[in-house]
Amino acid sequence: MARAKAEQQQPTTGMTLIVLVGLAIAFLLFMAFLNVVKSGNLLNETNLLFAALIFYAGAGALYLGFGVTGTESYVKFASLATWLGLIANTAAVAHRWYEAGHPPFASVYEMLLSFVWTLAALTLVAEKKYGVKVIGTVTMPVAIVGVVLMQLLRTEVHPLVPALQSTWLHVHVTLAMLAYAACALSFALAMMFLIQDKMKTETFLAVTSASTLAIYASVVFTRFERWGGLSLVAWNPEQKSEVFLSKGVRLFVTIPDLGWLMMLALLVVASPLVFYGLARWKNKDFLALANRAVFLSILIQVMALAMFLVRASDGSYPSLDADGLFATSLAASPFILSGLVGGVFLSLLYLLLLWRRPDLERLLPSSDNLDRITYKTICLAFPLLTLMIAAGAYWANQTWGSYWSWDPKETWAAITWLVYAGYLHMRVTRGWRGRRAAYFAILGFAVVMFTFFGVTYLLPGLHAYA
């Protein structure tokens, strides 16, 4: 009965998603068109990246479609799109390499380029070699986020400062990208495992909505200003630091209207939790409503994130505490940024669990196999992480005369290593299998992502150029 009901509800939600993704692709195509018109040059890096983005997005959409409807022909087109995206991505990497005269590993932008490339390549490997056809539903969104982030970061070719002119840099970064891509893959596989393992979605719904609600509630309660503005810390771009009025007192600027959007997001994000409560105490039927509310909340969250990115990344805004206009930057609001990104990510994870359907389960390898392949990818990732840290230490020793200085990036790399070491110990000695191992793999990837992005933008350190 319940299953039959779930079956009925799927087509509508599936359609909503496909329409949404279709709109997004249309928007991107439009942007790409504008870009070509503007630069008058078809084969430059930006366009190649846009091509990669569109293909990855297309692949992601098709994988999603496959996840929702179980139409197998989608997968063929999805891998075709992934291939095309990979080719465009390869061309972008080659272009960058040729222009810079060094492999593209010297900045966050260049590393993202390599990371996305590796991820797409590994997706195809997992699909062809291990038969994990729907892996793209998880890896492609990650790739898309990577490419979108690249658009936000600056793209000029910077010559290598003296410290970066070392073979060990290339060894270090290549290993890092391989390791991180393997971690991403293990994460995707762990998600597949959870889908296959018939995990209960309701609990996850409650956790997801409660966390996103907490994120938006804290943003709104601490930063909402009169007339719908949003307060952010002012940023001095020359000194690359926050602006202080006096000791310990930061200067806040107010971005007009952004507060309203956050308020709206707060309300929409709260709705799934309300429906969940109703379903819990009144009537199970409210769960379907809760699920729809999640879709709506993702839409609004993406909008809030996009507006936040656009308006907080540059521009000058008035302040309530001082006269004149002040600049702000994403770097000045690291916690809000990571909160918003985390919210979207959590909700998307929930979506993924929601698509668990009998035909999807049939298409995935058995949960035992998924568990084993997850373990195998971590067995690949862990030695790579070890070598990456060792190469980095050797390089640091050549450059700064010290192999370990506890700078945040180093420390977080070590933390990543420890988390995976914990996973391996629990698995080998305690026989952790299945769900617990999958949670661990997901946690590991979260730490990897924090090490990769979080540390660079949130924490200060020596790795300033990375």
Partner: protein
Amino acid sequence: MGGDMVVNVHTSARKLWQTAASIKTGVVLLILVVIFSAAGTIVLQRPNTEPDEMQNAYSAHALRILDATGLTDVFHAWWFLTLMILVSCSIIAASVERFPNAWRYFSRPYKYPDESFRRALYPQAALAITDEETGLVAAERALHSLGFRPERVVREDHFGIFAERHRISEMAVYIVHASLLLIFFGAVVDGVWGWRGTLNLNEGETSGAVELRDGATRTLPFAIRCDQAGQENYKDGSPKKWWSKLVVVKDKRDVEKKEIVVNDPLVYGSVRFYQSSYGPNGKVEKFSIEATPTSGSGAKREISLTVNETVSLDADITVRFAEFIPDYAVRDGQVYRRSNELGNPAAHLVVTSKASGKNFDVWFPPLDEIADNSKAPYQLQPTDLQMGHFTGLQVSHEPGQWAVWTGVVLLGIGLAFVFYVVHMRFWAVPVRDAKTGKYTLWVGGSANRNRDAFGQRFDDLVALLDEELKNIPKAAPSEQAATVAGD
């Protein structure tokens, strides 16, 4: 009573040991390390933060608490060190606890499977054979063609075939843990006996006094001279390369020379010198001026000076470069040195006439309230000012780093063995059914990891055996079989 005490101490010691050796303790310690090192990246750390910034970031009260708990310098706090020592102890205890078993396993391979082992083993297979010898020979040939070196095992009246590969893989975990301990050991040696500091040298300067991080000075038993240093730029003006020509001077002799660049240090003894920065030192290397006699008779002259140098312009007149002020200010008819930053420089020259004994001050830029440049017997015009440069060297002494790198290499090897080298064992035993009197060949295999791939391999072996068993009766009976077995 006394006896009880001894027993109690004994049991609690045993309990303590077991707790230390348990995986649970290890994982809890790892979690603590993760939490505290994460805290060390979130809370600003004293060693890499200016005191001002610390005060901006935290209120006085919070800062006092953070300082008292050591959270502002996590990685040098005593409790973090204690935690690392506990982690090491846990690794040691866990390894000591488990090693004897593993060593027995490693040093005395289990070659002849007894009945209960045979019953429980997976994967296994049984093939019909005509007699013991045929079965053994077939097993040997099959294992040979899979690249193994089978050996015949004789136990009283039983025979069997045993073959294995990569037994070392059983030891890999211990290699990994031992290498971690070696790395910790190296780090501790460096922490206790190592030091780091900076040495800034002007071109031509010789020094052996290294400024350590805590502000102290360490005098090396030798000195370093910088003959020349320089910077190359990219087209956009950002630095591409810094280089320094360094010479090691010991007992007034040049003992070693090297041009170092970033990423390529000079190593002398156990001390390393790294290129870390390069820049102007605020001192004048060469000041070029053009001198024209005020009277108009006599030729224009081009001279260059360093500070305190005196040059004759003609038989009567000399000029001396009296002073160079990198950042000057004028107040009450006096020139002051405002700072040592090269921002607003002034040069003071003194032109002297021997015959009249008169001195004329000349300032660049012209400072009319101090001196009138035009009164001097020569009109001076600056043409070029070349500033001296210093090279910034990082100096480090890390006596433990060899342990660290050896540990890293061992760790790499150990991990490769842990993840990718599988200890595979195969047994083949001819078994006679007590009731029917017919023989079957029992074949079993085991692998310590990657069991799916091993299952495939086992199936291959069984297929090969099947093939061999079909061939043997046709090919040749026992004599030939014996030669194969012997080889």
